[in-house]
Subunit: 427 residues, 2 copies
């Protein structure tokens, strides 16, 4: 996990909230100790014997290392459930769990209609959430920063915490984000390019701040709390105001050589095709995203997008027309679905994920992932004689995106807590 937040030296700030001070752990067995911690966090509550089995190590090692982790305040023992049929004899089994109160972080998703925020404990549980409506379009940096600051204050208060109780803040924004540098290269919600959002928010809030592309954070949320618990390689495709993608390879978010993550929405599905808001032609997004549908609705159905009106009102109206049998409305969705099929099939041919998850608000409508679209995709995927990856639809709302942003903050926090001095890392 890359670090961010200029103005910070990369170290995790000392814990200032309630609970025992987190002692630094000895370095002797770093990787396995971190593995144990992460396995327990991923699994929720887990008996030691199961941890040992899943990691393929001796129960004795697990016992030693979990003692250290409990001592340090990262894990705790929780009375487990008695299994049915054991007759109630003996001690109740004891499971390990992450100690929720050890740290708290905030996660925020900024978008062009709602900003959403959550407070998450060290175990990954959402403690409080908050959302605020914002006017569409792009904004001056000061406007965006101010909104962040207010939202953070509100959600922190809602959780019954003070800002100094937070260990880090994760923020997801649409567009091209250099997570390692904490910089937004371009975002549809921001009027400036190459803007150092992480450093600016860090200075304003006095907290370490991590930022990333929003679709990457949905993938991170899936990695931590969803499909990633069973699957090492998967892709999340988000269809909302734009089309985003996050890719997980071998249990890690894959960011590519320039650290920006993947942009399925700007793959070309048509040479010299429809104009995209990125300025290029033929992007998948220019056929599938909200604004693409709205553009066609304006042309053929005389549906107008009123200034200031949320985009989904228009899309909902277009959807109603299609359901009522309007040929033009149906043709708009049909074309969007076919190009989506091209984009997904190309994803399968160049990445072959074990699962593809379609995520985002728009998944409430069924026009994009209708049987027609999936059948079209099957026809476009390589014919190897084996079935392609399953497509799952997760119609979760913005809370998931904010939860992913919190996972980014927790990842950074965890790496900092467990990372050894540089010269030890090579072993």
């Amino acid at each position: 996990m890359e670090h961010s937040g200029e103005g910070y030296d990369g170290s995790v700030p000392p814990r200032r909230g309630c609970g025992p001070l987190i002692a630094p752990l000895s370095e002797a067995s770093r990787p396995l100790r971190q593995q144990i911690f992460e396995r327990v966090r991923a699994g929720g509550l887990m008996p030691r014997v199961q941890v040992a089995k899943e990691l393929g190590v001796s129960p004795a090692s697990v016992t030693t290392l979990t003692s250290e982790l409990i001592e340090a305040g990262y894990l705790e023992e929780v009375a487990g459930q008695r299994e049915a049929g054991d007759g109630g004899r003996g001690r109740p089994p004891v499971a390990l769990g992450v100690r929720p109160g050890a740290h708290f972080v905030a996660g925020m998703k900024l978008s062009d209609s709602f900003h959403t925020a959550v407070i998450v404990d060290f175990a990954g549980n959402v403690v409080a959430s908050e959302a605020v409506q914002v006017p569409p379009g792009n904004h001056l940096p000061e406007t965006l920063i101010g909104a962040c600051d207010t939202l953070l204050a509100d959600v922190t208060a809602k959780a019954g915490l003070a800002r100094r109780d937070l260990s880090a803040v994760g923020i997801g924004v649409p567009g091209f984000v250099d997570s390692a540098a904490g910089e937004i290269l371009w975002s549809p919600i921001l009027r400036e390019r190459h803007y150092p959002l992480a450093a600016v928010v860090a200075e304003r809030t006095g907290l370490p701040v991590l930022i990333d592309n929003d679709a990457n954070l949905v993938a991170l949320a899936e990695l931590w709390y969803g499909v990633g618990r069973e699957t090492a390689d998967f892709a999340v495709v988000t269809i909302e105001h734009g089309v985003g993608m996050g890719v997980v390879i071998n249990h890690r978010l894959y960011r590519g050589a320039r650290g920006l993550g993947m942009e399925l929405g700007h793959t070309k599905v048509q040479l010299d095709g429809a104009l995209c808001r990125c300025g290029q032609r033929g992007c998948l997004e220019a056929y599938v995203a909200d604004y693409a549908l709205a553009r066609e609705a304006t042309t053929a159905l005389n549906l107008m997008h009123k200034p200031g009106q949320p985009m989904h009102v228009l899309i909902e109206s277009l959807y109603d027309h299609a359901k009522a049998g309007n040929a033009a409305a149906r043709s708009i969705f049909r074309r969007a679905g076919r190009y989506l099929a091209v984009g997904l099939a190309n994803l399968v041919n160049t990445f072959d994920p074990a699962v593809i998850i379609l995520s985002g608000e728009r998944m409430r409508y069924d026009f994009l992932y209708a049987a027609d679209t999936l059948a079209e995709m099957d026809k476009l995927v390589l014919n190897t004689g084996r079935p392609g990856p399953p497509i799952e639809v997760h119609a979760w709302g913005d809370l998931l995106w904010a939860h992913g942003a919190a996972a980014l903050a927790l990842s950074w926090l965890t790496e900092g807590l467990f990372s050894p001095p540089r010269e030890m890392a090579a072993q």
Copy 2:
């Protein structure tokens, strides 16, 4: 590295050639020992102090472990070059190298015009090579196996070795190959689908046999002997009779969820587009590969592909027409170049490799990677304000492909030599 070769239990056969018997190594420090071996093999000759520095471990550890590796017959000491200006004082420096004679493997590339084979020593040096012309089109399995067997005998004899001196055979074929299962799902050179090539050749030759998609093996050759020495993530795109791709992520060949590797040539660049030999429409290959150019040449220039004539004769003629200013010929190459630009741009947007290598025989011609095509690609790649990945052209011949097949055999061999019993692996 997956293992293959049904009929084998996965263990490396005992060394039967010249040189000391390879003793199994103790298990105490497996990962670092293997890392040292692989670093030395990648680097050619390397002083101990450089190995220690590159792996970030103590020189004492490297000294201990290299003694074991020398004892086991895998590494040897080689007198290094005196550095200029040291005045010739003291002992000449000593470098470590892989002991070439410890093992020999064969690598073969099967195609629809030439089969190529090499014998490679344990250090990765080509000891002998051989090629044989074959009639185009697909073949019965017996024909292919027979050709493999004869070619293997010829190249082994040329190296002054007997078949029993070989430790493994790697084979690359075009098409969809399940490397782990040793099975060809579909290949344009084979008349049967779902054919267990590895097991059949293993039975015929009495040797462990690994197979893979040919483009994957070009990527493996680059990983071992080329760009992979400096770069962790890259893609190799091969343009020959078809369009292939091999992807390396974090120094490993990436094969995707179904183990088949990536198929850029069958990504769709045009909905309902040109017919591909895979039976689908709009594949990149259907615009860029030999047969696509030949199809258009037949239509517009009345150039005919005579049965039995190698395809490159027709392409060469088409190329001559284009150079002489023929508008139709130029238009054929122009369109192929534009669609190639779409395919490469989509690759950048969904994988963002550090480098893209264009490889294959056809790279001798400049029509596909001309300035026009690269400029077009730049226009189609995400505009992040940062330059896209560099495109390198490696116009190596079939020998590289066979060398990659040998690297597949060496990878398998190395994994077998260093892999500990299952229960040790978890640490």
